[in-house]
């Protein structure tokens, strides 16, 4: 089994790099799936991705293996978890609960939580070579700190305790509950509103079994991701962010004992420059390119000096003229990635 997890902040082309890595694996003969979070419209079309829970085979010429793609649909994955793990009688109540409508979009880390859920589903469905494109956030790794995180939201004895005490207090008319607890709830209610607190508690008491099942699966997935023989993390960045991103992610990954494979500096202006000086607007344009290129390369040099020894490889990818818009662009990125990854795939 082989898993590559691409991490990086927004706007670095993480999805394209993840898909290109998967393409290099497919070319080397593997059946490789890329799980993406937020592909551009054209990349989405190129990979044949649709909302929902389907995996899609991407036709690639002259590849010995197979390239597959799937879209991480947070809502669909969560709905699926509700259908799989909630008691039949509770399913509809959860799916129609006013809090549920907000939870998928506003709980921080929901995308990462559902990515972990989806990886588990994919492995069960027989995919054993997966490239994961995480959410564009520095917090993408937080979810691995505590696979129980999700369960903690509702399993947390604390919330259940509140919930129970609360229901109990209501059932017996509050008077038999100790003064301290009573005052506490009335105060919290006065701040947040009675209805809100009640709705929250009601929702999480329904939701608990789902989160509980989740944490068991998340622990299983986290163990795979921690195994350096199975999983490597790839930091994707762009020249302007290279130093900051390398510093942040190397520290974050080391702290969590994840194996770092390479740092991939995407969108670099490192194309071969003309020997003869051009004329007219072209001069201005070349100056524009050169100054951009110079600042890119000096930023990368600084990053290499500080962090080069802590990673297996730093790879520079030249920026394409157009945003990645199809398998052809992925192929051009994969060509630049090939030497490193084909070797690693053997």
């Amino acid at each position: 089994m082989k898993i590559i997890v691409c991490v990086g902040t927004g706007g670095v082309g993480k999805t394209s790099v993840a898909a290109s890595i998967a393409l290099t694996q497919a070319r080397a003969g593997a059946k490789c799936l890329v799980l993406t979070t937020d592909p551009s419209h054209r990349l989405r079309t190129a990979l044949g991705l649709k909302d929902g829970l389907l995996e899609q085979r991407v036709p690639v010429q002259d590849a010995k293996g197979e390239l597959w793609a799937a879209l991480l649909d947070v809502n669909a994955t969560l709905d699926e978890a509700v259908r799989l793990y909630a008691k039949p009688g509770n399913q509809a109540r959860i799916l129609q609960h006013p809090i549920y409508r907000q939870i998928a979009n506003s709980l921080s880390g929901m995308q990462e939580l559902m990515a972990v859920e989806r990886i588990d589903q994919l492995i069960l469905r027989g995919f054993n070579n997966i490239v994961v494109d995480t959410a564009p956030s520095r917090h993408a790794l937080d979810v691995f700190d505590k696979p129980e995180l999700f369960a903690d939201f509702s399993d947390s004895r604390k919330v259940r305790l509140v919930s129970r005490t609360y229901q109990f207090a209501e059932a017996v008319g509050l008077t038999t509950v100790g003064r301290g607890a009573l005052e506490f709830y009335s105060r919290v209610e006065s701040i947040l509103g009675t209805n809100f607190v009640r709705q929250m508690l009601d929702f999480y008491s329904l939701f608990y079994p789902i989160a509980e099942g989740y944490s068991a699966r998340a622990r299983r997935t986290a163990a795979l991701l921690r195994d350096p023989k199975i999983t490597e993390f790839c930091v994707v960045t762009v020249p302007a962010k290279a130093l900051r991103d390398a510093q942040f992610f190397i520290e974050a990954l080391n702290k969590r004992k994840f194996a770092i494979g390479m740092i991939c500096v995407n969108r670099t202006w490192h194309h071969a420059q003309p020997e003869m000086a051009p004329e007219g607007l072209a001069t201005e344009l070349l100056d524009w390119y050169r100054s951009g290129s110079a600042s890119h390369l000096s930023a990368i040099a600084k990053m290499r000096e500080m962090f080069g020894r802590q990673v297996k490889e730093i790879r520079i990818l030249n920026e394409l003229e157009r945003d990645v818009d199809g398998v052809e662009s992925l192929r051009r990125l994969a060509d630049q990635l090939e030497p490193a990854l084909a070797a690693a795939a053997q």
Binding site: K158, F184, V188, G193, F196, A282, E284, E319
Partner: protein
């Protein structure tokens, strides 16, 4: 700089909230700080507010050199990071005159868990704080209280930005009681074009453009806020060039991969400028890629020189 101060309009009742929004990584923080610095150099008091931690506001760190480099701006420019959790703690503290009681609530894991799992609660309190900062003057704070001519919100990436703004409406719709009333009132504030100046930021890249257009549409439909201008970051020199110059570029493309890249990129960007103008008919401010700068502060000043937003106020 001081001369400009004298001809300024009389101070309005509340500060204008200037919002820089857009996809992640398009330069919202940089432009927020550049605009803040520029306003401050013109004698306006400015507060730049961010809801992401200071660590990500890497540029702000070097604002330390501000007073040496831009003495006129230094006393007017403030940068503030707001952690919504602190705001919630404030509310609790206000509710409990006795600090012991407040601490008990804040330290209780029940309360902290409740705050973390409540959808939109943190965003909601953040909005409340923004409004309060805008209206400070109106509420008659003492003379020592800081007040500002401009509040600049270095907003989170589009998705979270809209979630944040929608939290007010959600609270109004889904809840009853004090939070619902506060939600309605906040939603009114953030749907009033007089309070808000919206500046989406986008480079000429497909995804960033798509996200910007989607967000502008949501803002117009859900909040009746129209964009004041669209800030186009890192634009190629070809964007503003005349047709004749562009036509003459042909042969240069063959000279090297670098030129081919630069020209193709420039042509694409020109097309996108036109498409963008049709899709979002608001003024465009082209902010060229700054190619040479000595430090972060210098970069901010240079961007400021090329970004005149005063025409939109």
């Amino acid at each position: 700089m001081q001369g400009k101060y004298a001809v300024m309009n009389p101070m309005p009742d509340s500060a204008r909230l200037v919002i820089f929004c857009g996809k992640g990584g398009v330069g919202k923080t940089t432009l927020s700080l550049a605009a803040g610095l520029k306003y401050a150099m013109n004698g306006r008091r400015v507060l730049v507010i961010s809801s992401h931690p200071i660590a990500e506001l890497a540029l702000a760190v070097s604002l330390e050199g501000l007073s040496a480099r831009f003495p006129a701006a230094a006393p007017n420019l403030f940068v503030l990071y707001i952690d919504p959790r602190d705001l919630i703690a404030d509310v609790v503290n206000k509710h409990f005159p006795m600090p012991v009681m407040a601490q008990r609530i804040l330290n209780s894991s029940i309360f902290t868990n409740l705050v973390e799992i409540a959808p939109g609660l943190k965003e909601f309190f953040f909005l409340g704080r923004l409004q309060e900062l805008c209206e400070r003057r109106k509420n008659g704070s003492g003379p020592a209280a800081p007040d500002y001519d401009y509040l600049i919100w270095d907003a989170p990436a589009s998705g979270h930005f809209l979630t944040t703004l929608r939290s007010a409406k959600n609270f109004e719709v889904f809840l009853t009681g004090p939070l619902a009333a506060a939600g309605a009132q906040l939603h009114r504030f953030f749907s009033n074009p007089q309070n808000i100046q919206l500046f989406p930021v986008t480079p000429l890249e497909e995804m960033a453009i798509a996200e910007t257009l989607e967000m502008a549409q949501s803002m117009a439909e859900d909040f009746e806020i129209k964009c004041s201008a669209l800030l186009v970051s890192c634009a190629s020199p070809m964007c503003a060039a005349a047709e004749a110059g562009i036509a003459g570029l042909g042969p240069a493309a063959e000279s090297s991969p670098a030129m081919r890249f630069a020209i193709e990129r420039g042509l694409i960007e020109r097309e996108r400028c036109v498409e963008l103008r049709a899709a979002l008919p608001v003024p465009q401010v082209l902010i060229p890629r700054i190619t040479q700068w000595s430090n972060d502060l210098d970069l901010l000043a240079r961007i400021g020189e090329r970004m005149d937003l005063s025409q939109f106020s």
